[in-house]
Symmetry: C4
Subunit: 373 residues, 4 copies
């Protein structure tokens, strides 16, 4: 695979990937829950915020680097946890990890990856012994808490052992959201693909019911809808890894997360894939930033496609953003090189947007840059 020369933005990646992926994979990646209202609103919300750029600032040198949970990264754009990268490219999460490493940013590996924790750590150049808090491409592990608590414990221990540097608990999926395209497709992983971290479980292909998404069935069978804030203490007892809570949309929940030990919060509606009608993540961000203050780092994902979207998120108080689907489009078009190019495009757009807003580094980005009319 080689990256088409002429792709110049993330929408073009989306367009071309939509033609190349199987319809089952495309639907799985692209769809949102129910009527996809939140999926659309995540994008439209960005357009409702207007930029108020500052002029005549020396922007000859821009610096996009920052620190997240004490680790330096080269750009405030992380790779969001997403399942099943092998649907997009044969190397799956290995390609993604290498792209993240090249760009000097965090990849958040999904529990539901099609390459294992250990394989990804190696691909990323990460290992326990080599762990170096100053390196610029830490891996984080996204966790779903299984009904089988021993399995959950084992996943955390494996991630820690493999050199992952944080645990990212997804809290907005006690059950899986209804993505009707998957339901119609009776979504399953194709032959030869598996839940690489969970090989002892029945795979998706076997367990699905008729007229049902296999993943929906997996969630209701395997994942624990009973976990509560108290379980965060137990999770933190399993390893020294700092805890990130992903999927918060309210200030009071953010405060609760901090009180239970979270070091970072990801404002997210799961890309519009869980509760349709939920507030756009960029619209929820301010409330959470205000509630948390400096007690935790706040990140956001959902609908980010342009450098100006990143700029708006940072202006509203996010420390960084996470990029989801466009990474998959990059993988689909060009594997590792495609994912890398997608990140580079977005980084370069942010770089230019900062220059045009009078910001030479991320600390210059303040709330006065945005307004909702």
């Amino acid at each position: 695979m080689s990256i088409p020369d002429k792709l110049i933005n993330l929408f073009e990646y989306e367009g071309l990937a939509s033609q190349q992926l199987s319809s089952m994979a495309l639907d799985y990646y692209a769809s949102g829950a129910w009527d996809e209202i939140t999926l659309r609103d995540n994008r439209e919300a960005f357009e409702r915020w207007k930029l108020r750029p500052k002029m005549l600032v020396d922007v000859s040198k821009r610096n996009l680097s920052t620190t997240i949970l004490g680790s330096s990264i080269d750009l405030p754009i992380l790779i969001a946890p997403m399942a099943f990268h092998c649907l997009a490219t044969p190397e799956g999460e290995l390609a993604t990890a290498r792209a993240a490493a090249k760009l000097g940013t965090v990849m958040v590996l999904s529990t539901l990856s099609t390459k294992s924790i250990e394989e990804v750590a190696i691909a990323s150049g990460q290992s326990k012994l080599a762990a170096d808090s100053t390196r610029r491409n830490p891996l984080w592990f996204q966790l779903y808490v299984h009904r089988d608590r021993d399995l959950t414990k084992s996943l955390v221990e494996r991630a820690y052992a493999a050199g992952f540097q944080a645990l990212c608990l997804t809290v907005d999926a006690p059950m899986l959201g209804r993505r009707e395209r998957d339901q119609r497709n009776q979504f399953v992983l194709p032959p030869g693909m598996e839940l690489a971290n969970l090989k002892n479980l029945a795979d998706l292909e076997i367990s699905h019911k008729p007229d049902e998404s296999g993943l929906f069935h997996y969630f209701s069978e395997q994942l624990d809808p009973a976990i509560t804030w108290k379980d965060l203490e137990w999770l933190q007892s399993l390893s020294p890894l700092p805890l990130i809570v992903k999927g918060i949309l309210r200030g009071d929940d953010a405060i609760r997360a901090v009180e239970h030990g979270a070091k970072a919060i990801i404002v997210s509606n799961h890309g519009g894939r869980q509760l349709d009608g939920a507030i756009a993540s960029i619209d929820a961000l301010s409330e959470i930033v205000a509630a948390v203050g400096n007690q935790a780092e706040v990140l956001v994902d959902g609908g980010i496609r342009r450098g100006t979207d990143v700029l708006k998120a940072l202006a509203l108080g996010a420390k960084a953003v996470l990029l989801g689907r466009p990474i998959l489009w990059g993988l689909a078009i060009g594997g590792e090189a495609g994912a890398q190019h997608v990140l580079e495009l977005l980084r370069d757009e942010l770089d230019l947007a900062m220059a045009l807003s009078g910001c030479s580094n991320l600390q210059d980005i303040d709330p006065s840059l945005v307004v909702k009319l």
Copy 2:
């Protein structure tokens, strides 16, 4: 008839039913008054309210049961009163009543039903002797006050005798709204169908004028546009049944209803079929909930098609919602089984929406779950 396997939401029922119904029946069911502004706004208003879900609540067990007027029901979704179910399925209201009974919820039978009060009571397993306030599928009787007060009195007495447990007075139809599709169709009931509760009246087929909807003519001939709040006392004197007032859109009217003895209020614009341009029912709800406080139970109908719509209505203070047209689409596609499936789909969506919002029972649903941006 058998329910197509692949219908997975209420919109798909609507789409398929639209192909199968006669155009006269479809137009009668689907249309709104005049320019259908309120018909559309009932739907669009739901989208303007955004959800703010709570996370990390134990939602492993959800309970959707509640009580309405002291009766327990299994889900906060009732069947709204609608005329002429036989246009959708030969068994008409009998099928609907059986579906309601299977789901454990209330059916509100219309005065203008095509099966009689007594037939429906039997189908529902309801009877005066067997009346049991703890049963989960009470029948309510929707009342239009006829100019002939003896006829009105007789309807109430028959409903009471047949075991109906409440009287639901529709107050937004002193005259019938102008549904122009019906007017163009010169809407009449097809041969063999009749107003089963009103057999002594000239039927719709006979009395209609040229260039007119037969139902419009019926209303102006038979129904009483002079009834006022004072008549509520008279209505309540006719039977021990509690009174529900349906069709309220203002807080002051809701207070008046309570003062005149109403035990419940249904916030409704008659599905957009009466006064076009009226406020969307979900937008009117808060004012009425605030006005009524705990003096009466407040329900709402109009535009509910998704579990998240139900969730929003409950968050804004409704005790339950009523479902209208989708029941008819269910009947048209699959008779009793179709109506049952429609209710099950909406119930399951509500169940999932609650889980994803951190609500394990209806009492957990509070106003903080919704916001209008």
Copy 3:
């Protein structure tokens, strides 16, 4: 001509008339100024106001009659002044006057009519001797002030002599608005049609310039862009007729009109035909009603097509509304009978809208009936 049986609302009249009129006549009637923003906004503004109907009021008898400037009329819907009715029907303004008389309402005759003041008075059954302030169909005369003040004086004297009961001065047209469709058409009156009140003037056909609307040229040649508030005193000195000022969009102007003797004010943007981008008339109404108080009667025109539009205007404080283009569509389809039917349709819609809102007469319509969300 006979009225098609099946036309049931004003939009259908518009649709059919659009097919039957010459394109020059249709463009002249239908167009707005420049980009037609205000033309569209006049309609859309009505939809932004929502109705809050009252229930359980005795609406068995409705009364739509009111008084305007001391004259009783049968419905709060007047016929707005419009030029050139002969473009729609051979009998022109005579047909319109007869329709107004049948309905018991006011016709406002345009200075630019294609039938003369005297002919219209006769058709209307109006004459100085027969003048009766209690009759239900007074005629008003719409005035453009010509540079030739003697001509202007003569028009007023002729109107008074012919039994017209008020003078309606259009103040929003010191120059004619740019209606680009007319400009492209090089609009002129067809052979055989003339400015019936102004026969001594060069007619439109002769005086127009290339690439120009003849009417635009007429205005710049003949009408006086220098008139000011002070001229209202002079106008009132010409006859005992009460003065109405048409074309006000601001509260301060409304107060000025009252101070200079106006007995009524018509809130209007000339149907979107003068200053494009001007505020929708229904959105300007409240400010003017508040400013004027009970010192003058306030009327409104612009975009009224449904009975609910009339209801909203009255709820916002208008004493009555004026109907424009739909009268022309009625004339085009059915001459006098068409115009009469259009008025009847709108009257009946208002009648029903009042019943459904709990209003049995116009005094029951109050500001609580409307809300902008």
Copy 4:
């Protein structure tokens, strides 16, 4: 070339020019940055402001003249700086300068012109010796600060020597915005065209990179992204010319500009070509007018296509507006005569809009004329 007789507004010029220009030139002129959100919003924002016209003012004589920086001009519409007029017409900026002179208004010559400072001055009838502060068509010189400060200094000195009367520093382009159409086209100047003021530099045709707009490359190579407010003092030291700062979107930046000596501020987002998502210029205007008070003159550009747009801008406090792309469409259709006709059309629209708003001169235009609903 002759101007088509029937073009009656600026949109028609745009439509016809779009058919006649090469696609590379059209794309260069028409495009905005990234998703062109600001490009569209510049237009849509005007429609959100509604006009509140005043009536019965003597508008028989209108006067559109004003003064800018002490020079009298005949209309409050200047020609915005734009690069490469030769792409539209062989005479390029000479044609534009002659059109500006005929209309009696300012032309702002771009640093990136295809005719030189000196040639344009001659065409305009401008020369140092002939300089006359009372003449009605001053030339201003738009400046980009090059990394080569001597080159910059030389440009200023040449403009001053040639009789230009002001220096207009563009501050919103430390780097060039991403116009993706240009990027796809690999935009370069066609053979025979050159940067007439910068002949010693490598021209655009030579220096561009593959997959890149030549202009984007030029900016990053040649222009100085390090200039700050302090450099304004240096710029003003190079000549006695008054300084205008173009590209301000915030009140605090406007105050800074005044503090550093700017005599006028142009509120602008560079026609949506720099930071996509930036606030519409008309929406930013009020804040800047309020911040600056009478310490500097405030002008605005972006999206002006109608006389009513000019009227709204003046009502919101602008002293004048600048017209951009439509001048290019005029040049493309009719060279000098086309540009002249475009200006005449807009002037005549403003003239009529003023008459219809009760304004006989620019001083009559006040903030009460506009409202945002």
